[in-house]
């Protein structure tokens, strides 16, 4: 699956758009397998770059969500509470939270689509 170029990526397999919408990558959903549970932060929660802000669980695995940048949660995707499998079906469309980005400069440290794709394929090759 191609990685959209309208956003940035992290080595923890999240994506974030310029307006602060966050999700996990197709590579992440693929490695997790059937996603059955997404634990979301409350609106208003301050999240800190590199720190866990939520959890995604598949049948087999529990995986933390790490903040790509710092910010304040403005919206959470409530639909995932009852339909977490949306993330498997469309990882790059099924967003998880939206945040107000605190410092846009933090985005510069993130990976481009091409760099992430290379990183993910190397990791998958292990």
């Amino acid at each position: 699956m191609p990685y959209p170029t309208d956003r940035k990526y992290t080595k923890e397999h999240e994506w974030i758009t310029a307006d602060g919408t966050i999700g996990i990558t197709d590579h992440a959903q693929e490695s997790l397998g059937d996603i059955v549970f997404v634990e979301l932060p409350k609106v208003g929660t301050e999240i800190t770059v590199g720190k866990a802000f939520g959890t995604v669980e598949s049948v087999k695995a529990v995986s933390d969500l790490f903040a790509p940048v710092s910010g304040t949660v403005t919206t959470v995707n409530e639909a995932l509470a009852t339909a977490p499998e949306q993330v498997n079906k469309d990882a790059h469309g099924a967003w998880i939270v939206k945040i107000r980005v605190k410092d846009a400069a933090e985005m510069n440290a993130l990976l481009s689509a091409a760099d992430y794709e290379k990183f993910a394929s190397e990791e998958a090759g292990h």
């Binding site: 490695s31 397998g33 549970f37 669980e57 598949s58 049948v59 087999k60 529990v62």
Partner: protein, 382 residues
């Protein structure tokens, strides 16, 4: 046959290349490189694989399981000495669930004992405990006139599980499988291979067979593909260890290192019905007699999550007030039952059906309830 095997390298079954060709996601399990699930593009994924076994048929490579054969004049006496079930009740071709115990009545391993011949028994043992089990069996059967052989690497073992499993295998064998009852064994030609052992056994809480074929890669791959081809009309799906675990959990089948171990005894694990105390002697019996009189301090219960959350292996179990009372041995979403379930050890006073407890998930006590087990029982055939 080898007694001490070099272990640091990750071991592979004869079907390893086949799993990789099919795009399986591989994981290390007890020192083995095994498929955890197959890709969705060929009908895989833990949930889909699990449902295929409950409603149709799925096949598993379980060649990592070990095998020990005891044969000779005193083979029965030897099996009786080292296992807790009563092997003297086995007719020719019959199998039973049992366990090898340490003197305190705790587990070396759980096993399936098959009576293959007049004085020939095959113990099917767990992958992670192969060498330990073999050494244990060999040491403790020395006084008996019998031959103990480690045959773990002599078979590729394929499990064909699900209500359609019998229909699938019947297409590939001349043996009359309808005559083989659950936990019985037969032999016959399978995919042109003569004298193949087929046991109506499994680890999925479903009907099905396990077949033992020659372990070379070419034969293993040929049979695997022939089984898949024959199963097409039944919607067969290749299944990995992920589904194997959720299937066995729904059926409350113990997993070594989780529900049973060298620190848990038979009564705690609730395996009383497979432990025949009327047998005059077996390793662990004396301690179990005393343990029975003393009563258990913890007991295995089934939990269903009431509030949102998934219990996982090792999570703490709390009472309603938040005090720690036990721990989860296995926890997962149950794909067929569509709820979040767990097995846990708790003190007997918290074990009654309907008792409310909490499971600590990421620092929060999440409500759960003690419910009857097994969580899943396969429907009786008419």
């Amino acid at each position: 046959m080898s007694v001490v095997e070099a272990t640091p390298v990750v071991r592979k079954t004869a079907l390893n290349a086949v799993h990789r060709q099919m795009g399986a996601k591989m994981v290390e399990f007890n020192g083995w490189d095994m498929p955890v699930e197959y890709p969705a593009s060929i009908g895989g994924g833990i949930i889909a694989e699990h449902l295929a076994v409950r409603t149709g048929v799925g096949i598993f490579d379980v060649s990592h399981m070990g095998d020990i054969r005891l044969s000779g004049r005193e083979a029965l006496a030897a099996v009786q000495h080292i296992s807790m079930n009563d092997a003297s009740r086995l007719a020719l071709g019959q199998a039973q669930y049992s366990a090898l115990l340490y003197p305190p009545g705790t587990f070396v391993d759980d096993v399936i004992v098959h009576r293959l011949g007049e004085d020939e028994y095959l113990l099917v043992i767990n992958a992670g405990t192969r060498e330990k089990d073999f050494n244990w069996v060999r040491e403790n059967t020395r006084p008996f006139d019998c031959i103990v052989e480690h045959l773990s690497d002599d078979f590729t073992q394929i499990a064909i599980q699900g209500p359609k499993g019998v229909n699938l295998l019947q297409k590939l064998t001349d043996a009359d499988l309808s005559a083989v009852k659950f936990y019985w064994v037969t032999r016959g030609t399978v995919c042109g291979l003569k004298n193949i052992v087929m046991g109506r056994t499994g680890y999925t809480a479903e009907d099905g067979f396990e077949i033992y074929i020659p372990p070379d890669e070419a034969t293993s791959a040929r049979v695997w593909h022939e089984v898949l081809a024959a199963g097409k009309e039944f919607g067969v799906v290749p299944c990995g260890l992920g589904a194997r675990n959720t299937l066995r959990l729904e059926g409350k089948l113990p997993l070594y290192g989780h529900e049973i171990s060298d620190t848990i005894n038979v009564w705690e694990a609730g395996l009383d019905r497979y432990c025949k105390m009327e047998k005059p002697e077996f390793i662990g019996r004396a301690a179990l007699e005393k343990a029975k009189a003393d009563g258990v301090k913890k007991t295995l219960v089934g939990l269903e999550m009431v509030d949102r959350g998934i219990a996982r292996d090792g999570y703490k179990v709390l009472d309603e007030g938040g005090s720690e009372i036990g721990y989860v041995t296995s926890g997962s979403p149950a794909p067929f039952l569509k709820k979040n379930i767990a097995l846990a050890y708790v003190p007997p006073e918290h074990a009654e059906i309907g008792t409310t407890v909490k499971v600590e998930i990421r620092g929060q006590g999440v409500k759960a309830q003690v419910i009857p087990t097994p969580f899943y029982k396969r429907p009786k055939k008419s």
